[in-house]
Amino acid sequence: MNRPARRITLEAWGRRYDELCAAGLCEPDYGGPLARHVDDGDLRLCKLAMDDSAAALRLWNFLLTEDDRLRRARAGGARIVGTMKDLGTVPVMAYSLDDVVAFYPDGAWWIPCVMERTAGLLEIADSLGIDDSFCPVRAMLGAFVNEAHFPIPDLLTCSVGATCDDLSAIAQRLEALGHPVVWWEIPHRRRPDAGEDAVRLPGRFVAPRRQVDFVRRQLEGVAAALADLAGQSLDDERLAAGIRRANRVRRLLDELRQLAFTAAACPLPALEMLIAEMLAIHFCSDPNESIAVLEALLGEVRRRVAAGVGILPAEAVRVFWVNPVADLRVMNLLEDAGGRVCGTEYLFCHALDPIPDDLAPMEALAQMALADPMVGSPADRASRICADARRFGAEAVVISRIPGASHCAMEGAVLGAAVRQRLGIPVVEIEVPPISDAVEPALRTRLEALIETAKDHGSR
């Protein structure tokens, strides 16, 4: 494979699609040209640069057809579960049952970006008293009201406690609007006291045994609600099978990240990597297809790495990215500025770690839930970020902030200080609104300055 890999515009994707079809492209039932999503209102695609591979096409089409998939599942008799404020635990349980489909309503926070605010979701949230002092995840509230982006779930779960205050408030507003929620509580992860029985969690954190036991009991309550909904028992055997499948997704992502972040020439754009990583937490409503999508992407990356093909200049500065962005365009911006993503912590790095398969399934899931970076201290999170940034050879770090989001309002300073002190590399903190066009020059300046500084810093 000697064809150069490129990032191309949507317009160029039209021609590329014709080329791929002429070359015998085989697509799943959700396939098709990307431009059709613009007709559905996904206007932001027109401003993005996307990878030009068939694997990336499949990834984008998979992402942008989730609503169709959910509605088809409902029409086919499946029960639908909305797993709010859950980064990779309850979906694993839900997908362990037959004819149950889980999705992540919070994912609606990207709709104002992808549809360039034409869907009016934020305005609906405003009208319900959830204004722009809240995280953009308030778009979810609008999506529940207008029912245009996902079907209303048969069961809604939501974690509460040491999680995002904004989302808790929004979910409570949702319940007040007549959508009952099965709440489960997650405590703030703390270090065990001296002599206290402790558990080493995935992701190198440690928590008191009593916290793990508490979370396990909370999850058992969720499991009972799921079993009631499905009319099936959620026993250990089913859960173990569900965990094995989730781990397959996680291992594929682990290999993809390892290859993409460490290759001499960057083999896959940051944007596609971000979307691929998101599959770890919600499977885009189809775990088996997630595996197929990731296998295709991994195959493409393996081919590119073997051929030494990259989508960016070899001298691109290696940047570790913290927190997801509200506007996907900013991932392009970093690459336009001369950077490449070589490591990420999008607030769900625990969902990229394999779920322990040598423990009782509910114990393993409880441990994973407690390993969530958002339920511990920023210092814990900083430790993992520094370790991963060092492992991937980062030359600079971007800490992205989500306007109004309570979980990252103050954390950036702690994370930035830790990176500066432990790694001695430049850090920049940026705030990215759902549509960043008006602040693009300011964002571009910060990212370009980071790249220039990293180049000077390393005397490249």
Binding site: E429, P441, T445, E452, T453, H457
Partner: protein, 261 residues
């Protein structure tokens, strides 16, 4: 060989002409920013060249910096104001380890390493909090010219407490303070103190000395003292603080290989 640096800032455009052979500044100028940024920059550049008896063809290389750098057609290269300010300060005050730059629409702090290169930086949020624009709004509200704001503040006996750094909210606060009888002198001093305090908070716990102060706000009398007080460290205003970025751009232009034009 002549090089030029153009700093297309949010409020003003600055141009520096440099003799690349000896890094001597031949001329510098400042013009108000406007919608046609490229035309304004070219006009200023042309005027400075004329004054020196030079032509465009005499320019070996041009580097543009600042908010509007992408719009400057004459530029051979575009480099951010972070790098350019660092380079300019390194030239003017080589011992400097930290730079506080407060411009029209943003403020930034640069940490320089032992070689004088930028090791790290922080910038304010995307709003105009604690910037020159903020001072302009305050001056307008107090009915004085911006250039006289510092003098007004120097007559303060008890600087007012300004709690908001948002331009819009602060204006409301100022209206309230005026209505409650607080003197314009105390309000002006309170605003200076608030800006300095915000910069100090942005700087974090440690800011290595010597510290240089650049940007148009450095020209406001008393701002350096307010900054020193907030940082608890001495602050030196860079020579011609408004043109430091343009100077850095010109120096970087001179540093590049001639064949790359």
């Amino acid at each position: 060989m002549i090089c030029a640096g153009i700093d297309a800032g949010s409020r003003t455009i600055k141009v520096v002409l440099l003799d690349a052979g000896n890094s001597r500044v031949l001329a510098s100028g400042i013009a108000d920013q406007g919608i046609e940024q490229n035309d304004l920059a070219l006009g200023l550049l042309g005027r400075l060249l004329d004054e020196q008896g030079l032509r465009r063809g005499d320019l070996r290389r041009v580097v543009a910096t600042g908010y509007g750098r992408k719009l400057i057609d004459a530029a051979d290269e575009r480099i951010t104001e972070i790098t350019c300010h660092g380079r300019g300060v390194r030239h003017l005050l080589p011992e400097t380890r930290s730079v506080v730059d407060i411009g029209g629409q943003d403020s930034k702090i640069l940490r320089l390493n032992g070689d004088g290169n930028v090791a790290d930086f922080v910038m304010n949020d995307r709003c105009a909090a604690g910037t020159g624009r903020f001072l302009e709004v305050v001056a307008t509200r107090l009915g004085v010219r911006l250039s006289l704001l510092g003098e007004l503040a120097s007559r303060s006996r008890r600087p007012a407490a300004i709690s908001s750094m948002c331009v819009v909210f602060a204006e409301t606060e100022i209206i309230g303070l005026l209505a409650s009888g607080t003197s314009p002198e105390d309000i002006a001093a309170g605003v200076q103190r608030a800006i300095a305090s915000r910069v100090a908070s942005m700087a974090g716990a440690s800011l290595a000395t010597p510290i240089a102060f650049t940007g148009g706000v450095a020209l406001v009398p008393g701002m350096d003292r307010a900054l020193e007080s907030a940082l608890g460290k001495p602050v030196a205003i860079a020579p011609d603080p408004q043109t430091t970025g343009a100077l850095g751009a010109a120096l970087l232009a001179a540093q590049r290989r001639p064949e790359s034009r």
